[in-house]
Amino acid sequence: MPLLKDGKIADDTWAFVADGDELPAEGHVAVSLARFLTEHETLLAGNHQVGVKLANSEDPGALKPWLDRIGMIALEFPKYVDGRALSQAQLLRRRYGYTNEIRATGQVLRDQLRLMIRSGFDALVIDQADAEAVYAFSSHEFSEFYQAAADQSATIFEKRQQARQVKKPTDERTRNGN
């Protein structure tokens, strides 16, 4: 299945190693959260790039102490209508400031891409013909958003505020509710 990274087909350099299986001596290895939590010292000390795969019921906060040393986090959509991984991605990006790859796995369908991208996914494993074109289309289907999210799009509320400030440049009031 093709891997899209930032919308372009990319080689998948990550090897997922099941719990109990032996780790290769080097390279990009991804393990489960449970394995990472017990073996992180060896993993991070070795000649590896380390990735972690989270079940969608697991707490991404458990990775907090090591986030700057983790190269990839794979999140799962067991069914595409199950949106738990969207919250996990938002937490990783906006709460914990994680900046490396967040990968969507499982049932990744084109009509969900926009939600995933906005929630912070930058890599998708997607079973879709013409995946790059579909990605380009789906990620630009909407040009306006009310919510701030993990992507950097300016929100409608921010654009309105900018428009007001252009009109009233002396207005110093800041972002207080009433």
């Binding site: 949106g83 738990r84 969207l86 919250s87 938002q90 009031r173 207080n176």
Partner: protein
């Protein structure tokens, strides 16, 4: 009323275009029904017994003449000339072809309307008090906050694949006309000790298979914290709500299984952990911009008493009765709010023909400051009418067959579509509602009985809100035969209560006579004519009424 700016407009147009693409892919077979289903659902398209149904959003029930006329046009051009107003302040069409749905969305977008998030497992159309801005007892107009919530929740990237549907209601009246305690989240605008207006935050109410009254998690939350606090609640629900069983997936089950204390602890922890850039706080100017659209209209200075209105009430029994039952007090002297009860005898509750919709538009434009609302009782309401104009309004309503004078009375029944349209139903609900209406066919008898809420659902999904009817009727299927369980004592207002099932189900033809006996018992037992059915039942308990219910069965 709120008006779209370029951003709101762009979003709704882009949505219509997106759905057109999805329908095309579906019709070409590129998109499987299994994968199309959640997409169409998030756009209000259901596959019903006979055809596709389209549910159009009427955010917090707010319409004007132009929108109402467009809804009539849709009924004529794409449906069979009528529409159905729902208990969620929306409107439904039962006979629209899938291939034509995208055209309908374009037509709706022309008048700033859409079907976004009217179904599916997302944050649904926010509902409110249909008398907002007109009634006597609210501390502030709740509609600006409804609009703010509408915008915040539209295509929310994190909360569009929730465990289950999510309904939010806002009220600001002392009397709760929005049933906020039976919503996933209910917001009741209140003052705190310093006199600042904020929200009582109520979570986990809901009807359906397991009805719950919502619980207060915060007695008061400030306006500037509202959206961030909503996000904290939604995130806890999205992460931890059950997904293994759709009947246990609503937030009420999560709150119940965790317990109020633990649920609140998780929400407060999430709320406290939000970084400043995660907070959702609108600039004060934006709150003011949105609020300005709901500024009170310029009411004329009028005397409290209108001689034209007094003469109208004295002018005949039928219109006197309509004036007594269908009008609600207004805060401005010389004004009143008018209920159009869409439940004349023998019609499916909430149905209106396109001609009637156009008449409602014309009357609202001419006499109602162009403000038209849909109430959760499936009524249409003109919040602002001059007493002097009431005779003309009545005459025009009567000409359109919209002068049913039963608002709030026994025959003003809330009923779901039931077996006639709904493929989940166990039993007919419209016909049983019609038979109960016939019990109250004599207006004098109906007035003698007074305020009474009868709610009918065709199955345990409870779209007819049977749990909160003074009398609730629930259709069940027993070995292929329709039976009806009867419930007593529910209410949806600020004293929200879940009704109690009385006992074995009745056959279709037994229901109306049994209700007649219960009413007879009430008339016999009430202390005085002003004691309402629900209050007599509250005073004496349900036992005597249950006895009457089963008296001849």
């Amino acid at each position: 009323m709120y008006r779209y700016d370029e951003f709101d407009e762009t979003l709704v147009r882009e949505r219509a275009k997106q759905f057109r693409g999805q329908v095309e892919r579906r019709l070409k077979g590129e998109l499987r029904e299994e994968h199309f289903k959640p997409l169409r659902l998030q756009n209000g398209v259901y596959l019903q017994l006979h055809a596709y149904m389209l549910r159009v959003a009427i955010p917090y029930g707010q319409l004007n003449a132009k929108k109402m006329r467009q809804l009539a046009y849709v009924a004529d051009k794409f449906d069979k000339g009528y529409a159905h107003f729902t208990t969620r302040q929306n409107v439904q069409y039962n006979w629209i072809k899938l291939a034509e749905m995208p055209d309908v969305l374009d037509v709706l977008a022309d008048v700033e309307m859409h079907a976004i998030q009217t179904s599916g497992n997302c944050i649904r159309n926010v509902t409110s008090d249909h008398l907002a801005g007109a009634n006597l007892d609210e501390i502030e107009d709740p509609r600006p906050w409804c609009e703010i919530i509408r915008q915040w929740s539209t295509f929310h990237p994190e909360f569009s694949s929730l465990p289950r549907k999510f309904k939010i209601a806002v009220t600001a009246g002392e009397t709760d006309r929005a049933a906020v305690r039976v919503h996933d989240i209910g917001l009741h605008m209140k003052k705190n000790a310093e006199g600042r207006i904020g929200f009582e935050f109520i979570v986990g109410g809901g009807l359906g298979r397991t009805p719950y009254i919502g619980l207060t998690t915060r007695e008061w939350i400030a306006k500037e914290d509202l959206l961030s606090y909503l996000e904290a609640n939604m995130r806890v629900y999205n992460r931890h709500g059950r997904r293994d069983n759709k009947y246990k997936a609503r937030i009420k089950i999560l709150v119940n299984e965790l317990g109020l204390a633990e649920y609140s602890r998780q929400v407060e922890e999430e709320f406290a952990a939000q970084n400043t850039w995660e907070k959702v706080v609108l600039p004060q100017e934006e709150v003011e911009r949105i609020t300005a659209y709901f500024a009170p209209p310029k009411f004329q200075t009028l005397p409290v008493v209108s001689s034209a209105f007094e003469a109208f009430k004295a002018g005949g029994r039928e219109q006197a009765r309509w004036a007594k039952n269908n009008l609600r007090p207004h805060r401005a002297p010389g004004y009143i709010s008018v209920h159009i009860a869409l439940k004349p005898q023998g019609v499916a509750p909430g149905d209106a023909t396109s001609d009637q919709m156009r008449a409602m538009a014309d009357i609202g434009e001419q006499y109602g400051l162009d403000d038209i609302r849909v109430a959760h009782e499936q009524d249409v309401v003109y919040p602002h009418v001059k007493l002097d104009d009431v005779p003309a309004v009545y005459a025009a309503l009567k000409a359109a067959g919209l002068h049913a004078s039963n608002a709030g009375m026994g025959s003003d029944i809330i009923a779901c579509p039931g077996l006639d349209y709904c493929n989940l139903s166990n039993a007919r609900s419209i016909s049983v509602a019609n038979e109960i209406q016939a019990v109250f066919a004599d207006p004098e008898f109906e007035d003698e009985v007074g305020t009474l809420h009868v709610n009918v659902s065709g199955c345990i999904n409870a779209c007819g809100h049977h749990h909160v009817g003074h009398i609730g009727i629930l259709g069940v299927d027993k070995k292929g035969e329709e039976f009806y369980q009867v419930l007593f004592g529910g209410r949806a207002d600020e004293k929200a209560t879940i009704a109690t099932i009385q006992g074995p189900g009745l056959k279709h033809e037994e229901v109306a006579p049994a209700i007649r006996r219960v009413i007879g018992k009430y008339l016999e037992l009430r202390r005085e004519p002003t004691e309402k059915f629900i209050d007599t039942m509250g005073r004496l308990g349900q036992a005597p009424f249950k006895e009457a219910l089963y008296a001849s069965a």
